[in-house]
Amino acid sequence: MEIVDVRGLSCPIPVIRTKKVLDQGVSELLVLGDSSVSKENVGKLAGSSGYTVTMKVDEINNWEMEIKK
C-alpha cells in the first residue's frame, strides 16, 4: 500500500499530496498526519472523490487514514 506522509505540512499541501497520488489511479493509500485540520481536509477530499475512509489511528495530533476505492 502506498504511504503519503503529510505530517507537519501546512495547508493545503496535505490535500495536494494526497490528490496527486489518488490522481495516479492508486486504489489503496495510507495517509499519515498530525493535525486535525489536515485530517478533515484529506478526509473530505477522499470522500468527495468516491473513496472510503477508515481511521487506523485517530488521535487529535496523530492520525493514520486508510483510503480505499
Binding site: L9, S10, C11, P12, E40, I60, N61
Partner: protein, 366 residues
C-alpha cells in the same frame, strides 16, 4: 449543506455582524475588525512607529489569540509546533503587512469594505483573487516551506498568548513608560476610535473561538475553490459579507461608490497590487492574516513568526512611509488628499511581489 458548511457560514455571518456592531460602538468605519490595521495600531501603541493617528492596543487582536488558545486547549488541539522555514515566514509576514497597508486593510477588512459599499474594495478583491491564484500555481508546482515539527515542550506555543496577556495588562493599567509614551494612545484619527474595551475584548474572544473551530480563512476560501472546487471556506467569506451588509443597511452605513469612502483611496492599480501581494503571500503561508493569528494562539510558532513579522512590517510601513494615505475631500481649512501609496510604498509593494515569486520558485520540491 452539511454541518461543517453551516458552521463556517454562521461563523462568517456572526463575524460580519459583530464587525459592524463594533463600528456602531466606536471602531473606525468599515473597520470593525481588521487584522492588519489592528496589528499596525499595536505596533504604534508600543512606539515601534510614531504615526500618532494609528496607535492603540486593540483588544480584538488580544481576544482573537486568547479565544483561539482557550478553544484549542479545550478541544485538545493546542500543540506547540514549528520549524517550517520560520525566518522566511517572518519576512513574508513583513511583506503581507506592507501589501495590506498599500491597500488599507487585510482581506477581512476588504470584505467589510465591500459590504459597506466601497467599490475600491472590489478592485482590491480582484487583486486578492489574482494573488491567491498565483499562489496556487506555485503550490501545484510543488511549493513547500518544509515540515513543522511537534515540539516535545508546549512552552513555545504559549509565547504569543503570553505577549497578548502582557499587552492586555498594559491596556488595563494604561502604563506610560516615559513621559508622553509609549504606551501611545491616539488622540485623533482611526487609532482614537474604539469600541469599549471589554466589548472589543469579548468580540475578539467570541470570533477567536468560532474561527478556531470553523478554520475560517479568507485566502483559504478562494484557494480551495480554485484548487479543489471546495466551497466550505468560501461560505465563511460570503457569510461575513452578508452579515456585515445586513447591519450596514440597518444602520444606514451602506454608501456605494469609489469616492468618499472611509480610510480608503481610489488608486485602482495599488488597491489591486496591494491585495495581490497579500493574496499570494497568504496562499504561500497557508492562511490569511486572521488565520495566522488564530494558529498563533493554538501553539503554531511559525504562525507566531508571521504575526510578529506583520507587526514589524507595520512599523516599517509607517516609519518609511510605505503605507498608503487615505483620500480626503476638501473641506474648510483642509486641502483635498488624493490618497494612495507614495513612491516608496509603490516600490515596497512591487519588491514584495517579486520576493514572493522568488520564494515561490526557490521553495519548490522535486
Amino acid at each position: 449543506m452539511n454541518r461543517t458548511k453551516w458552521f463556517v457560514l454562521i461563523t462568517g455571518l456572526i463575524t460580519g455582524a459583530i464587525a459592524v456592531a463594533l463600528v456602531k460602538l466606536g471602531n473606525p468605519p468599515n473597520m470593525g475588525f481588521c487584522i492588519a490595521c489592528f496589528e499596525r495600531d499595536i505596533a504604534g501603541a508600543l512606539g515601534l512607529h510614531r504615526a500618532d493617528t494609528v496607535q492603540y492596543l486593540r483588544p480584538e487582536i488580544i481576544g482573537l489569540v486568547l479565544g483561539a488558545m482557550l478553544t484549542s486547549l479545550f478541544a485538545g488541539e493546542f500543540k506547540s509546533r514549528g520549524g517550517s522555514a520560520t525566518l522566511v515566514r517572518f519576512i513574508m509576514g513583513v511583506f503581507m503587512m506592507i501589501g495590506a497597508l498599500v491597500f488599507l486593510g487585510c482581506p477581512l477588512r476588504d470584505v467589510l469594505r465591500m459590504a459597506g459599499g466601497d467599490y475600491n474594495a472590489v478592485v482590491g478583491f480582484i487583486g486578492f483573487i489574482a494573488g491567491v491564484a498565483s499562489g496556487v500555481v506555485f503550490l501545484k508546482k510543488g511549493f513547500n516551506l518544509g515540515r513543522a515539527e511537534l515540539s516535545h515542550s508546549q512552552a513555545g506555543g504559549y509565547i504569543i498568548p503570553a505577549i497578548m496577556i502582557f499587552l492586555l495588562v498594559l491596556l488595563f493599567t494604561k502604563t506610560v513608560f516615559q513621559a508622553g509614551g509609549p504606551v501611545f494612545f491616539s488622540q485623533k484619527g482611526p487609532g482614537s476610535m474604539a469600541a469599549p474595551l471589554l466589548i472589543s475584548l469579548a468580540a475578539g474572544l467570541l470570533v477567536g473561538f468560532m474561527a478556531q473551530r470553523s478554520r475560517l480563512c479568507l485566502s483559504g476560501g478562494i484557494r480551495d475553490f480554485i484548487l479543489i472546487k471546495d466551497n466550505t471556506l468560501l461560505l465563511g467569506f460570503i457569510g461575513i459579507f452578508i452579515g456585515a451588509l445586513a447591519l450596514n443597511l440597518g444602520f444606514h452605513y451602506f454608501k456605494p461608490g469609489f469616492a468618499g469612502q472611509p480610510i480608503a483611496h481610489a488608486q485602482h492599480l495599488w488597491n489591486f497590487l496591494g491585495l495581490y501581494l497579500v493574496g499570494i503571500t497568504a496562499t504561500l503561508l497557508g492562511g490569511c492574516p486572521l488565520r495566522q493569528l488564530i494558529l498563533s494562539g493554538q501553539g503554531d510558532t511559525d504562525a507566531g513568526a508571521v504575526v510578529v513579522g506583520m507587526i514589524v512590517g507595520a512599523a516599517f510601513s509607517h516609519n518609511m512611509v510605505f503605507a498608503a494615505s487615505a483620500a480626503k475631500a476638501a473641506s474648510p481649512g483642509v486641502t483635498a488628499v488624493a490618497g494612495g501609496p507614495g513612491l516608496y510604498g509603490q516600490i515596497a509593494c512591487l519588491v514584495g511581489i517579486a520576493i514572493m515569486f522568488i520564494i515561490g520558485y526557490m521553495f519548490r520540491e522535486e
